[in-house]
Subunit: 425 residues, 2 copies
């Protein structure tokens, strides 16, 4: 389809002064490169440009001369610093005109939300001549798709991450796979909980060699290990499907049950929720240092009322006593951060809510409050079921928010392991 390159290559442009002046990370570029790789398109450059019409115009023009696909994100909003439309108009010599259907949709949306529709808001309806409109299902600014000579494409997407991602997945991906049906880049992946990045790599061992550039024989693909708090993702990429499947199969054997999913988009909390539903089980939680984060993760997935009933955020000693009936003597003897109190919290959460499981977290997230015996990062988790409860002691590293998140993920992983041992209904 393209006139110049068999496998299309992409350049991404993120527009926004804040990306340059404030050092914010362009997360849209990471998301887009991942989605593009999944449909066989390699991203060869990513750029961040200030909100300046001329800079945007030059970036768009130069990129569209180099590669078959340019995707720019940001600068499509209603305010005066949003000048991506104008930049594209200048780059490709396409006049801007207001689109009546977008105007009508914008008016309707603003009215539904009870917001005033002004001249500024109307700027979002400006469209370069000949552009195809990508509707925005979750926000106001529509996206735009420009067909360029030799089958090349230039897409302008909103900068708000969830708007960008839904437009990309729901509309643009279908257009791109239709234009370039080659799928040269395949990937397989696993997501692992409860192991560090180094532990994962050690278990995989020489399995990765054929995917690594060892300066010797031909490289058959690439591998990426990516660590997030409490989780490690491993992505294998290559062109030989059989070879990739074999590596994937062996990776599953070598790592085993610590793999919680093969779906790189699935979060641990969603996997746990699905496991609970499949077995008709429910859980409740009681949290201290994580302050509601565990409950917020468990309710993040739509339909979570099927497995989650309720949670207690018992941040103070008094609330542990009054709401969960924790024995004050237990707190006095062992401290609020202890296996004994974690057990009492987990049991009370299960008993009071009538769920199958009770999951609890109590710990010291820092930066203050640590002692020699219980330093910052010490966390006790407990899981209660019909057979009683079992508390475990952990020491997590990182700042306050990282410690809280790792504690939640570790608790979720404990619940996942326990649910796995229950025969599905």
């Amino acid at each position: 389809v393209t006139g110049f390159h068999s496998a299309p290559r992409a350049a991404l442009i993120a527009i926004g002064t804040e990306l340059l002046a404030d050092g914010r990370h362009d997360t849209n570029g990471v998301t887009l490169a991942r989605i593009l790789a999944s449909i066989g398109i390699e991203t060869v450059s990513r750029m961040m440009v200030v909100d300046d019409e001329q800079e945007i115009a030059v970036a768009l023009e130069e990129a569209s001369e180099r590669v078959a696909l340019v995707i720019a994100t940001g600068g499509l909003g209603p305010t005066v610093d949003d000048v991506t439309r104008e930049g594209a108009s200048r780059a490709f010599h396409l006049e801007l005109h207001p689109d009546e259907r977008i105007l009508a949709a914008l008016r309707q949306r603003y009215a539904a939300l009870g917001r005033t529709f002004s001249d500024l808001s109307a700027r979002q309806a400006l469209v370069p001549r000949g552009a195809e409109i990508l509707s925005n299902a979750v926000g106001t600014a529509p996206g735009l798709l420009l067909a360029r000579p030799h089958g090349r494409l230039v897409a302008l997407l909103p900068g708000v991450p969830h708007e960008m991602e839904s437009m990309m997945r729901d509309q643009l991906v279908a257009r791109l796979t239709a234009a370039w049906p080659e799928r040269p880049l395949l990937s397989r992946g696993i997501k692992v909980a409860g192991l560090t990045e180094v532990e994962v790599q050690t278990r995989l061992g020489d399995l990765l060699d054929p995917l690594l550039d060892q300066g010797g024989g031909p490289r058959r693909g690439s591998v990426t290990l990516l660590a997030a708090p409490g989780e490690v993702s491993v992505m294998f990429r290559g062109k030989d499907e059989q070879h990739l499947d074999e590596i994937h199969r062996q990776a599953r054997v070598r790592i085993g049950d610590d793999i919680f999913t093969d779906d790189m988009e699935a979060a641990l909390e969603a996997v746990v929720g699905q496991l609970l539903v499949s077995r008709g089980l429910t859980t409740a939680v009681a949290e201290s240092c994580t302050g509601g984060m565990l409950a917020a993760l468990l309710t993040r997935t739509p339909g979570s009322s099927r497995w989650f009933r309720q949670g207690w955020v018992t941040y103070s000693d008094e609330s542990k006593i009054s709401e969960l009936g924790v024995d004050p003597e237990l707190i006095r003897r062992h401290g609020a951060v202890s296996a004994q109190v974690a057990d009492a919290m987990a049991k009370a959460a299960r008993r009071r809510s009538g769920t199958d499981f009770g999951l609890s977290i109590t710990g010291i997230a820092g930066p203050d409050g640590g002692t020699r015996e219980k330093p910052v990062g010490i966390v006790y988790l407990s899981l209660a079921d019909s057979g009683g409860s079992l508390a475990t002691r952990h020491r997590f590293a990182g700042d306050r928010e990282a410690i809280r998140l790792i504690a939640c993920k570790t608790a979720l992983e404990r619940l996942r392991r326990r649910v796995l041992s229950v025969t599905p209904r």
Copy 2:
């Protein structure tokens, strides 16, 4: 000094396939943009390019035509995928030759570390004709500085962050301030809750004109509006401190109490926490659709036990009744998503925990569960204090996670406004 622009502008290029394929963040670009701003040089673009000689050559050439200063990082090491030297040689038609002094220094360094000096290692001594050498005090690869026509400069720095930063601060900054004796770029900002991006801009009105590129008079700086769920940030930048301070002062007058902070690093939840502490007040929360997220935000800041006591995640109707004593008749008559239930939850949270405030959220986060009367995005918030409680109805847009976050931020903003009206102790 430059032939084309009074204040020099910079473009940054980060070289490395891992930045594109694995979605790693280019932290060097953030560091460099900050250092450049401190010496008055604005960064107008940042780019990431794969380890490909041709891609690097095009990126360097195009950037050096656009701006007075180009700084590229990475690709100067000894391995075969390090091809920045070759890319620069191709871009500017400058032959590469081995530099004897670099070779001698490299041999000495490798010997001191007990490492073998190979032909690969010797690649680091290749220098484009006429380049000035920047020595590497903390690593092996030297940097290179190329003088281009019209006083423009192209610098090639190593990709290892601490090597790059030490070379930038110890050698390049002096060269740049000698070439362009500029005043530093200063910034002022405000963060606003409870208003949309358009409402903020409408209130600021013509105040922003001197900072915007309106095609007319000289631009005295820049302005960025950035919307996050429930918040809008406005950042003013320029070189004239008095002028910036005046704009900042007027912005505060025009927007007033909706500004919750001038500190661009301060989150709304931290501001609310500090306000509560300053007045010796405490709060508790009761959440349904946000499932613990409000409590997790309130406990995100260190020391939050001073203002936050406890929270209830009453996700099911039964838990609202059993834990918070909500009248079942109220739920039957008005539904769990109603002003009446929100009020009952807020009052119960306050009463049961003995705090000054009780804050509640109940709503429909979606994607399912909406009705014609109460569509997805409908959220009731209530704030209870000694005088009773007041529930408000809201309609939020976005996906499930966005609706939940905006609901939390809106609840925090209601609490902030209420606390502001209390005289500090």
